[in-house]
């Protein structure tokens, strides 16, 4: 097996395209999963079965079926119902939705970890429910769960190649396309492998910096 720097050079323009797509998926997917996960977690606390039952069922279903199946469903079935989105949009929504069913559990744990005394103090001060959540409970809960949320960002990064299956050309997609055309597999796959490690590492550094800032 020979290492061909020329192939690396040829692959790089495609690599940058793929990297950009991967980072987009990761960034927007993370935001969706953070926001939606929080929404699920809060809805699950509504004291009504009419809310918790549907939310619980849907999220349980999404969490326990493969991401790949969900992506196929969104990409191939939704258009039949009249909803056609680009492959990238579908992929970002799919991965964000999938991961939101994990982040909701992280938030739930974070909310439950806030001592009951905090709720009691908020009641004693007559704070309205909304204010209790936004000023007292959520700031403490979110601070606690940043490390766990960060782990899901890294897990999501490693799941981004699945989007290849619905024609999204992220890093692996670009590498595979390049390899098919040139029959050179080693170089593009090595390049994206290194890229995954570098992104994970940078993400975990950023995360640790964030944790340090939050814990003062």
């Amino acid at each position: 097996m020979n290492w061909d720097w020329g192939a690396v050079a040829d692959f790089m323009p495609h690599f940058w395209d793929g990297l950009l797509v991967t980072l987009q998926v990761l960034a927007i997917g993370s935001v969706i999963s953070f926001v939606l996960g929080l929404v699920w977690a809060l809805l699950m606390r509504v004291p009504s079965r009419w809310v918790t039952w549907p939310v619980g069922t849907v999220t349980e279903f999404v969490r326990n079926t493969p991401l790949l199946v969900q992506l196929f469903f969104l990409f191939y079935v939704m258009p039949e119902w009249g909803l056609t989105l680009s492959a990238l949009t579908t992929g970002v929504i799919g991965i964000g939705l999938h991961y939101s069913t994990y982040t909701m559990q992280v938030y739930r744990a974070g909310i439950e970890a806030v001592p009951v005394g905090q709720w009691e103090a908020a009641t004693a001060l007559n704070l309205p429910m909304r204010r209790t959540w936004t000023a007292v409970i959520l700031p403490q809960a979110v601070r606690r769960v940043v490390p766990a949320l960060g782990n899901y960002v890294i897990a999501m990064l490693k799941d981004t190649p699945i989007l290849m299956a619905i024609t999204v050309l992220e890093m692996l997609g670009e590498a595979q396309l390049f390899a098919r055309e040139t029959f050179q597999f080693t170089e593009p796959l090595t390049v994206i492998g290194v890229a995954f490690i570098v992104i994970s590492y940078l993400a975990s550094l950023a995360l640790r910096a964030l944790e340090r800032r939050l814990v003062h």
């Binding site: 905090q118 009641t123 004693a124 001060l125 007559n126 704070l127």
Partner: protein
């Protein structure tokens, strides 16, 4: 209320206090599962009085404070504060009546995500609609009263337990309640920090007309500040009277046993 007219330390003032009944519990029963904590309890507290609840743990003292703070709901009975029903009552009325009540907790329960200043101003601004400036000015006065003016920009974690508890007292007072509930406020403190907190409370008892309802194991403190001491046992008041009487010549055997165990 005025906080700047300090009486000498060893003198119980004869300042006229607001009179009339402020708190009334009628036939209040509270059960946890099969266990009846409060059994058909009747009692009332007059405005401006300092009442201390003593008794063995599990006798229902803390439950009374928690019922008044609406952290618990009674199973039966009626609770009235300042002429308005707190239980049973619709949520809107509960919120209204609850404004008259403040509480200091055993574990302080300061908001760790907020500075000392913001802990104190949060509720006055969002609940009472005070301006931020007015709330901060008031917070500074209160912090001066509890001796913590240098700490207003710190977070609770940077303070000692005693300091945190003094902030919690200031936070409760910032809402200008008519009643201050004190739930074993020194029990979680290291011994050397207890005196500072009790001094602050003595000061408040002496210099304001706030009604105090206090659960404590600090019998000297209870003797100092109380107008009335209620001895609880198994969810009932078995003996009540001024501290001199309860501590010196208790009538009930259970009171005598309890006092000899704690004094």
């Amino acid at each position: 209320m005025s906080t700047d007219t300090h009486a000498p330390f060893d003198e119980k003032p004869e300042t006229p206090r607001a009179s009339g009944e402020l708190i009334r519990l009628e036939r209040v029963t509270k059960r946890f599962g099969d266990h009846t904590v409060l059994d058909n309890l009747d009692f009332s507290v007059d405005a401006g009085k300092h009442v201390t609840l003593i008794g063995p743990s599990g006798s229902g003292k803390t439950t009374i404070l928690r019922l008044l703070m609406t952290l618990l709901k009674p199973d039966e009975g009626v609770i009235t504060v300042d002429g308005q029903q707190l239980f049973p009552a619709p949520e809107k009325q509960v919120r209204e009546v609850r404004k008259k009540i403040g509480m200091v907790f055993q574990q302080f329960n300061l908001f760790p995500n907020m500075t000392v200043l913001r802990n104190i101003t949060e509720a006055p601004v969002t609940v009472l609609g005070m301006s931020k400036d007015a709330a901060e000015e008031r917070a500074r006065e209160l912090l001066e009263m509890v001796g913590l003016t240098d700490h207003l920009d710190k977070h609770p974690a940077q303070l000692s337990g005693g300091q945190q508890q003094r902030v919690a007292i200031a936070r409760a007072l910032a809402m200008q309640p008519k009643v201050l509930l004190l739930d074993e406020v020194t029990s979680a403190l290291d011994p050397e920090l207890v005196a500072g907190v009790l001094d602050v409370l003595r000061d408040i008892a002496r210099s304001t007309d706030i009604t105090m309802l206090c659960v404590t194991h600090e019998m000297n403190f209870a003797r100092d500040i109380s107008d009335q001491v209620l001895m609880f046992d198994s969810g009932r008041v078995i003996e009540a009277g001024p501290p001199e009487k309860i501590f010196s010549e208790p009538e009930h055997d259970r009171t005598r046993e309890f006092l000899s165990a704690v004094l």
